[in-house]
Amino acid sequence: MSDPLRAQLKQLIVRTLKLDDLQPEDIGDDDPLIGSGLNLDSIDALELVVTLEKEFGIKISSSEESRAALASVAHLADFVRSRAPADRVA
């Protein structure tokens, strides 16, 4: 069964970073987001963090924490679930 939060995160990634050549469903749950895989960089990661903080009411306090949270969509979903208020998460 697909995870609605993971699907939401994939849409958010494509929309926030203006990845016009990519469909959300093309992003694998375990694909590395930074570096290889999607080849996003640290600035992309930080831009995603801004969106995630607004969308889910979470707080990411450092660049090191950003990198860890954004290892993959699966990682990110777990991170969001662990930090966000229950009413902010699908």
Binding site: S42, I43, V50, S62, E65
Partner: protein, 378 residues
Amino acid sequence: MPSAPFSPPPIRLTATGCLTALGDAASTHAALLSHQRALQLHPVLGRDGGDSVPLALLPQRSLDETAPPNWLAHLDTLGAQIPAADWGSSRLPVFVTSSNFGVGSLYAFQRTRDPAHLASGTPFASVDRIRQHFGWGANVSILSHACVSAHLGLLLATRTLHAGLADRALVFTFDFVSPFVAGGFHALKILNSGFPAPYAARDTGSIGLGDGAAFAVLEHPDASPSAPNTFLLHAQSLYNEMHHFTANRADGSGFAACLEPVAAAARDQRLWIKGHGTGTLEAGRLEAETLAHLFPAAPLVSWKGSLGHTLGSCGLVELALAVESLRDGRVPGTIGSEPPFFRDNVAAEPFSTAAFDAVLLTSNAFGGAHAATLLNPD
């Protein structure tokens, strides 16, 4: 002495001074020797609140801009130290460098829609305010390259003097913190609730931001010295990695490319090093490792753990403090940092300059920009 590629011949430094949250160069130097930290927690967006982050603002200066800018009057104490001359005339050019210029005013305009802020919002408008405030002529060049800006001003002033186009040159730099720049670094997650600990091997990197302004007067070394107790900028080196906006090449080759020519120029000299050391982890590690490799006997200090990163002005603010250290005979240590460090070249405590011949001053910037200047007593 062999020269760095494209490094101009030596140039004489006859006067320098700075303004930080701890005062002028002498006051700042004394405060650093006593481990005083200028950084204090402020809301990142000023009156609009936000997370608390470490900033070092001039006394009684608010993060929120006024019209005219609230930093302008503060420059008077610095301006009073500049040797009197017809600065900005044909033979006495001024080189102004900054990273922020008047962006605080642009932010204030965006927030308040008060058009009075626009009179200082663009780089040329903010510099023209300063020019008129000090009564300089119109011969004012403006350079802006983030945190290596001041080094560029020194190098271009040097070339101008050596080309015979000037008798003396004034290099002036200013950078004042605003929600514009604090918000930006906070969004980059490196200006956070932690205080900077330059070169410390920690889990989380943190920087602070600080107000800074400084000046330097340069003249040709063959001219009769216009002042006593002068110094020489013996070598000046630049390099731009153009690898990534916010990251360096992982092998440290960018740092090495800038520093190796200066290492050659400094051969046989006993050096201490005023590094960049903002408190970030990866760049701090690469910097400390490269400096330890190229200058194994040189103690490394950074003062940004106290003053914060004064951005475009840092190269000249910290040059003024290095000169103060040479005159005083004592170098402040790396405030805010404790072992373990990335390498054992980091000096946490003050030390005497007696055992050293020269100081190497380095700065780094976005885009993998690097600058290094070798300073000797004249």
